[in-house]
């Protein structure tokens, strides 16, 4: 590793400079009409959006791969001449930053040799330049007008296989990037609007599935071609200056909306962290992913300081991480700006520590990161942004404050073998895209509602999986209690179970990092469940149904020996006598569950979303025989829980009715506000200490086993040697749960919310 850090996309990631260095032979069209009449703008805005829609639909239809149709692992976009976004697309949001970086790098590094010309398209999958990992291939087309680059259209699409030591490109044993699919810095795949055969053949040569990759390449190229031609038509009709003025105005309007919202937020710093297990198969360590957001004036700075050193499967590059942490800005702060994310990006800075799992340097192996570290970084991004928005004076903006999303680490359940028709197959289950949406400050999470960064998450039907693969699902159902408990309940995840069917054998692999430690709750909410894989040997399904005529419907109804499968595992080979049970995490809870209306808990129990046991234990709600809350028993139970929280001492007082910030104080969290630099615990009114540090010391601390955090969480010592506890931080007078943390090896998040 060189001494000097150069952010050029070679050893260190490419971080675009403020002014791009472009060869003089290439000129950019940067003249926009000074003003644009509001009607023409509206007409062009609509038309440009339609260009992007058509671009995306074209890719989805031509590719037609399940990755595209269900995983939505692609996105089209329109960028201006310098590679800043005009419209990003409505599919995977975290792919965003990568494309912009790829365009900027191409402008800087290809404008002199071989030169960028009309009719070119460029292809790249280099994660140090502008790809989330090697499988996400970017195709970019400059749109030329009168010899100058007017704008770019580009897309990213996940490929089946581009070669390397493992099918699909991801080898969990990879020691470095040389074990993985080749990295391709931007190359000219089209010249004069014709595919360059030499480049295409080089691109396909390493793939195990060149036919499909070739089909997907056509999807990407056709999408760009359609978008480029449509924009040229618009220029022909309205004039380049007018179309450019619309592009600029879209960016400016989005920026103005962003700044209006920023104005309601005090300067401050917010931190969150998550834990992932197993960097290399066989290890039992936990690795920290830490994200800090600082707001100063109109600038947001994201930092990865404190994250674990790069290594093993967890490492990701800057391009992916940047896209991950900003992807939640779009839905939380620019929800009304139709994917014009540039408005926020103009005010985002990134202070990254290289050599970490979120900013790996070459030659780290990085292809596994999107499903692991990058996904978790999206969740952490949502949390730090939420903590920031919780301090806003704008009540509407505070309605975007959310708990941790479900499925913080994608549980890859790969499956290979011989299918029911005798042909070899290799695939993975896409069911966990049915993640749970977060709980918000005003509503519960949506059970199996999908991710907040994949706006149209689509689970396959069970029948579609069974039609193509040799398996028979015993069940696929939402998992009660898997959403974190809270004033607003996290959404439930789900669980499926299958037996191998009409096959001699299948081989299962697991790759994830959320089996040991779940996602954290927010403002006193409980954590979610974890992902889980259990292989039940000799489950006795055939005997059971022969004997009872009844299909088993839950793990507890199966016989046999349980193999608690770790986050990364290989060569589990179930026979038709075994059952594979696979669950994915819910989203976490928001706020103290004792503050949830008992009737909501009763409704959840009646609908099977929460078990009666957990209702009593976490929510303190006791149900009468008719299923309605027993008011007296509930009050008594809730008092008992507060007393337990305070170490056996009954609370000194009841909660005051006030909301945080009610008397003009500055809100800090749901239950904390700030008066004259001192933090107040709102439930009791007690002053805790200076906001600049240490206020959590004024709260009662209670450490519990992680299994107390969620009934679906298993003892972490099954999978890790690190000590993990569920920490509750409690108002010492009322017993209100002000905050929860997941603490590894004794260290907690001491100052996760500070304002200045």
């Amino acid at each position: 590793m060189s001494e000097e850090i150069v952010w050029d996309g070679r050893t260190y990631p490419y971080i675009p400079p403020a002014e791009l260095r472009i060869a003089p032979g290439l000129t950019l069209h940067d003249e926009a009409d000074a003003t644009i009449d509001p009607v023409t703008h509206e007409v062009l805005r609509h038309a440009l959006w339609n260009v992007n829609t058509e671009h995306g639909n074209t890719i989805m239809k031509i590719s037609g791969s399940p990755i595209c149709a269900y995983g939505h692992d692609f996105n089209p976009c329109i960028l201006d001449e310098k590679g800043d976004f005009v419209f990003f697309g409505p599919f995977l949001q975290y792919l965003s930053a990568a494309v912009g970086n790829a365009v900027k790098w191409t402008l800087e590094n290809r404008s002199d040799n071989p030169g960028i010309a009309d009719g070119d398209m460029w292809l790249s999958n280099d994660p140090w330049i502008g790809a989330t990992h090697q499988s996400d291939v970017v195709v970019m087309a400059p749109v030329f007008h009168e010899g100058r680059v007017f704008c770019w259209v580009a897309n990213t699409l996940h490929q089946w296989d581009l070669g390397g030591t493992a099918p699909g490109g991801f080898n969990p044993f990879a020691q470095d990037v040389f074990w993985e699919s080749p990295c391709i810095p931007p190359v000219k795949i089209l010249e004069g609007d014709v595919i360059r055969r030499d480049i295409e053949e080089m691109y396909l040569r390493s793939s195990r599935m060149p036919d499909l990759v070739r089909l997907d390449l056509r999807a990407e190229i056709t999408g760009c071609r359609i978008a480029r031609d449509r924009i040229l038509e618009m220029i022909g009709r309205y004039g380049a200056g007018t179309v450019k003025a619309t592009m600029r105005k879209l960016q400016d309007d989005s920026e103005a909306a962003f700044l209006r919202r920023m104005d309601t937020i005090p300067d401050g710093t917010w931190t969150e962290e998550g834990w992932m297990e197993v960097a290399m198969p066989g290890d039992r360590g936990l690795y920290r992913n830490r994200l800090t957001l600082t707001k100063k004036g109109s600038t947001l700075t994201f930092s990865n300081e404190g994250s674990a050193p790069q290594g093993g499967t967890l490492s990701g590059t800057f391009a992916g991480w940047k896209g991950a942490v900003v992807s939640m800005l779009a839905s939380q702060m620019l929800f009304d700006q139709m994917f014009v994310i540039e408005g926020a990006l103009r005010h985002c800075e990134f202070e990254v520590v290289p050599g970490t799992i979120t900013c790996a340097t070459r030659p780290a192996a990085v292809s596994g990161s999107p499903a692991l570290t990058l996904l978790q970084s999206i969740g952490l991004g949502g949390l730090v942004i939420s903590k920031m928005l919780a301090t806003s004076s704008d009540e509407a903006l505070r309605s975007e404050v959310q708990s941790c999303m479900g499925v913080l680490s994608f549980p890859i359940n790969a499956i290979q073998g011989v299918d029911q028709r005798g042909a070899p197959f290799s695939s993975f289950l896409l069911d966990p895209v049915g993640a749970a949406l977060s709980a918000y400050s005003w509503r519960d999470g949506q059970d199996t509602g999908g991710w907040p960064w994949d706006l149209q998450s689509t689970m396959p039907n069970v029948e579609e999986t069974e039609l193509f693969y040799p398996m028979l699902f015993l069940w696929r159902k939402e998992l009660p209690d898997s959403g974190g408990a809270g004033r607003w309940r996290g959404g439930n995840g789900a669980e499926l179970a299958f037996v191998p069917h009409r096959t001699d054998g299948i081989n299962l692999f697991t790759i994830t990092s959320e089996v040991a430690v779940p996602g954290p709750g927010i403002f006193g909410g409980y954590p979610s469940s974890t992902n889980s894989f259990v292989l039940v040997h000799d489950a006795g399904v055939a005997e059971q149904i022969a004997r009872t005529g009844r299909m088993p419907g839950a793990l507890s109804e199966l016989e046999g020996e349980l193999d608690m499968v770790p986050a990364k595992s290989f060569d589990r080979r179930p026979t038709p006598a075994d059952v594979w049970v696979f669950g994915w995490a819910g989203s976490s809870g928001y706020g103290d569950p004792l503050r949830r209306e008992p009737s909501r808990v009763a409704d959840d129990v009646a609908a099977g979303r929460v078990t009666a046991d957990w209702a009593e234990k976490a929510y303190g709600v006791v149900l009468a025989a008719d299923g309605q809350p027993d008011e007296d028993a509930t009050a008594a139970r809730r008092l008992a829980i507060r007393t337990e929280r305070l170490g056996g001492t009954p609370p000194a007082r009841e909660e005051r009715g006030d909301e945080a910030g009610a008397d003009g104080a500055q809100r800090l969290t749901e239950y904390l506000d700030v008066i004259d630099g001192q933090v107040r615990s709102v439930p009791s009114g007690r002053m805790l200490g200076p906001v600049a540090g240490g206020y959590k010391d004024g709260l009662t601390r209670r450490d519990l086993p992680l299994t107390e955090a969620n009934p679906n969480v298993r003892d972490p010592s099954i999978h890790t040697d690190n000590a993990v506890v569920f920490r509750q931080l409690i108002d010492p007078e009322t017993g209100t749960l002000v905050a929860t943390e997941i603490v590894v090896d004794g260290e907690g998040l001491q100052h996760d919310s500070t304002i200045r």
């Binding site: 791969s65 036919d211 139709m338 579609e464 069974e466």
Partner: protein, 709 residues
């Protein structure tokens, strides 16, 4: 026998009835093609009263009593939104669901995408507002039964009848009015579903019961279960309505089964519609497209964009090579289900769409919010103070405040100006500039939708003729046609436009669609294809024969949904009729590639990936020999305008403009733009450079000037 004329029976009337929110329209046509129209008020919640009133009025106008009319009616066809309304308003039956043990959550999970399915793009990014809809079947009414069939149709676990009986008993105890039955792979082997249905019928004959496999024969348990659940949810209300109407019309002398319009673009007998009301969902705009296809056939237009602009929405259908294009799934209330239907897409852009100022960007937006019927546009004078598209048309002088809708309504021009000023002022525009801008936005958004729809089908919109109907269509059609590069607009049939949907319903054929899912990989064997299509066609021909359609009255089209291996998205490809030869079977791959490249562009297909077919479909039409419309008598080519007023035109501003009254225009009459033609149901705008003429059937045809295209 319902095949209409030509069965040797005496010739009689065709009668179409279409029920909208406000009016119930009836169109009758005699064997000579002479048409009589009538309107009556719709009568919710019992729409049958309005139905009979409209038929009675039509009879009166034709000089017949209602019984006289109905007893001489060969075909009585009806389009109803009863089922759609029940679903949209979530006022359906208390519905239970019996499904495979372990899979009760399929309907609740909604494959996850139920949280955002069908959301307009403007709301897609606002994740905190995503929400799955209220369940059609509450979780407590979803019962699981042990049974299991695998993908090949083999029984893995025999139906547990004790559990089934118990489940039915519990649902009945809970007072359900309808029970849906949907098992995994029930469409491959329907035995378990059928047996449970028989048990329900035995235990509770009064309960509406519906099996998923009877509705849909494709893989996808969520969409199939949703279809069965929705069918049950709307079933009791819709079937009661349809049956009662059938009985009432029979009592009044109509001897055939009442025919009900389906979303797929044809009619089926009332008894079938009562069992499967699902297929009426979304059939509201179908009548209009069917009517367009009927007229297009007479006029010799093979490619037509059919658009309906009413008060709140703009609905577009496509007719290509004489056939209305179809789609295979439907999203309503965020529920998705498979259902063959006419491809019709909508945006919230109508005469009542509100023009508003987007404070953030300082730009103008139009819709999707609508002023609705109440208060309606400001110019209606019913208290509306926000400007709408109709108000813009008043401000621009396109609408005549004193002769709107044939003089039935007086518009308040001042109110329109006042409302427009609320948006114009903050933008530093005059009311006229704002109105002209709003109209431009509306027209370009409409053109964007039509362009998108045609391009996605691989078609060039410039070759299409635009049919514009609905109250607000005529005002905008010339401009959005120009925007699209089309050269011709047909505003159908002058006054008939007002009852256009009823005319469409009246002209519909009987249509049955049969599907079978079966995975086949290329190279295809002729025997296998023949076996699938023989089975489907036999069912279709049997059904049509029972309805009186044989010989050349039967039109069968075959399709296969095909894709490249490992793709999800399928393309519908026509398959030749008759017994296929080996050569034809092999050529099916070429047909797929051709269609594929037509949609996605040359070079996009890559056959190296391998080709599969998954679903086979037969669309069987019982051709109703609707007579041709009567041609009118030609009149003078040159017509004297009924007046002149200032109308605003883009580029030139207000100009004195000729105004024509529709009734003064006979076939052959020609109008040169700029001009306004005021018809009883719509106002037609003929911009400068364009011209219009009345065709022999009374439709107004606008030719877009070459210079302005």
């Amino acid at each position: 026998m319902i095949s209409g004329h030509g069965n040797g029976s005496t010739m009689g009337y065709y009668c179409g009835v279409d029920i909208g929110g406000t009016f119930t329209d009836c169109v009758i046509m005699d064997e000579s093609g002479t048409v009589t129209l009538a309107k009556a008020s719709s009568t919710p919640p019992d729409f049958s009263q309005g139905f009979m009133a409209a038929v009675e009025e039509a009879g009166r106008r034709a000089g017949l009593g209602v019984e006289e009319l109905l007893s001489q009616t060969d075909l009585l066809l009806h389009g109803t939104t009863v089922g759609t309304n029940v679903l949209v308003q979530m006022r359906g039956a208390r519905t239970g669901l019996i499904t495979t043990r372990g899979h009760r959550d399929a309907l609740i999970m909604m494959r996850s995408f139920g949280r955002s399915a069908g959301l307009p793009i403007e709301r897609l990014l606002h994740v905190s507002r995503h929400r799955k809809p209220d369940p059609i079947v509450p979780p407590a009414f979803i019962k699981e039964v042990s049974e299991r069939i695998d993908w090949a149709g083999d029984v893995f676990l025999e139906l547990n009848e004790d559990e089934a009986r118990q489940a039915i008993r519990e649902l009945l105890d809970d007072g359900v009015e309808a029970i849906a039955i949907s098992f995994l792979w029930g469409f491959v082997n329907p035995d378990h579903e059928r047996r449970v249905k028989a048990m329900v019928q035995e235990m509770a004959p009064e309960v509406f019961v519906s099996c998923a496999h009877e509705l849909i024969a494709k893989p996808g348990e969520y969409e199939r279960t949703a279809a069965a659940a929705i069918n049950c949810f709307i079933g009791p209300v819709t079937s009661t309505y349809v049956r009662r109407l059938d009985e009432a019309t029979t009592a009044k002398g109509y001897a055939q089964p009442l025919l009900i319009m389906q979303a797929a673009g044809g009619v089926v007998p009332a008894a079938q519609a009562a069992e499967s009301p699902l297929f009426t969902i979304g059939s509201g705009p179908v009548g209009g497209v069917t009517g367009a296809a009927f007229l297009a056939d007479m006029l010799g237009h093979r490619d037509v964009i059919a658009c309906d602009m009413g008060g709140t929405s703009f609905d577009v259908g496509l007719i290509h090579e004489g056939v209305a294009l179809t789609a295979t799934d439907t999203v309503i209330n965020q529920y998705t289900f498979f259902m063959p239907r006419l491809l019709i897409e909508s945006i919230g852009s109508g005469g009542g769409s509100i023009i508003w100022l987007d404070e953030g960007s300082g730009t103008m937006r139009v819709g999707p919010e609508s002023a609705g019927a109440l208060p309606g546009p400001a110019c209606y004078g019913r208290g509306g103070d926000r400007p709408t598209t109709s108000d813009a048309n008043v401000v621009l002088g396109r609408y005549n405040p004193d002769n709107f809708l044939g003089g039935r309504m007086t518009l308040d021009a001042e109110a329109a100006h006042r409302a427009m000023a609320t948006v114009a002022g903050p933008m530093g525009m005059t009311e006229v500039e704002a109105a002209a801008g709003a109209v431009r936005i509306v027209e370009s958004e409409m053109a964007d939708l039509m362009r998108q729809m045609t391009l996605e089908q691989g078609l060039d919109p410039r070759g299409f003729v635009i049919y514009a109907y609905g109250g607000a269509g005529g005002a905008h059609a010339a401009n959005f046609a120009r925007e699209l590069g089309c050269d011709r607009v047909v505003v159908p049939l002058g006054d008939l436009a007002s009852t256009w949907s009823a005319l469409g319903v009246m002209s519909a054929d009987v249509l049955h669609v049969y599907e079978k899912a079966q995975l086949m990989a290329a190279p295809f064997e002729a025997d296998a294809l023949n076996a699938v299509f023989d089975e489907l066609e036999e069912r279709a021909r049997e059904q049509l024969a029972s309805e009186g359609f044989t010989g050349d009255r039967v039109e069968i089209r075959r399709f296969a949904d095909m894709k490249f291996n490992l793709q999800i998205h399928q393309v519908e490809v026509p398959v030749p009729g008759g017994t296929l030869t080996g050569e034809q079977a092999a050529a099916q791959v070429d047909a797929f590639v051709t269609r594929y490249e037509q949609i996605y562009g040359a070079g996009s297909a890559f056959t190296g990936a391998g080709v599969q077919a998954g679903v086979f479909r037969v669309s069987a039409r019982g051709k109703v020999r609707t007579p041709s419309l009567v041609r009118g008598t030609s009149g003078a080519a040159t017509v004297t305008p009924s007046g002149r007023r200032d109308v605003h035109w883009e580029g030139t501003g207000f100009q004195p403009t000729d105004i024509f009254h529709g009734e003064a225009l006979s076939p052959g009459a020609t109008v040169t733009g700029p001009a306004i033609v005021e018809m009883a149901e719509t106002t037609i705008v003929v911009p400068p450079g364009d011209s219009g003429t009345v065709d022999p059937y009374g439709s107004f045809v606008i030719t877009i000037g070459e210079g302005s295209r």
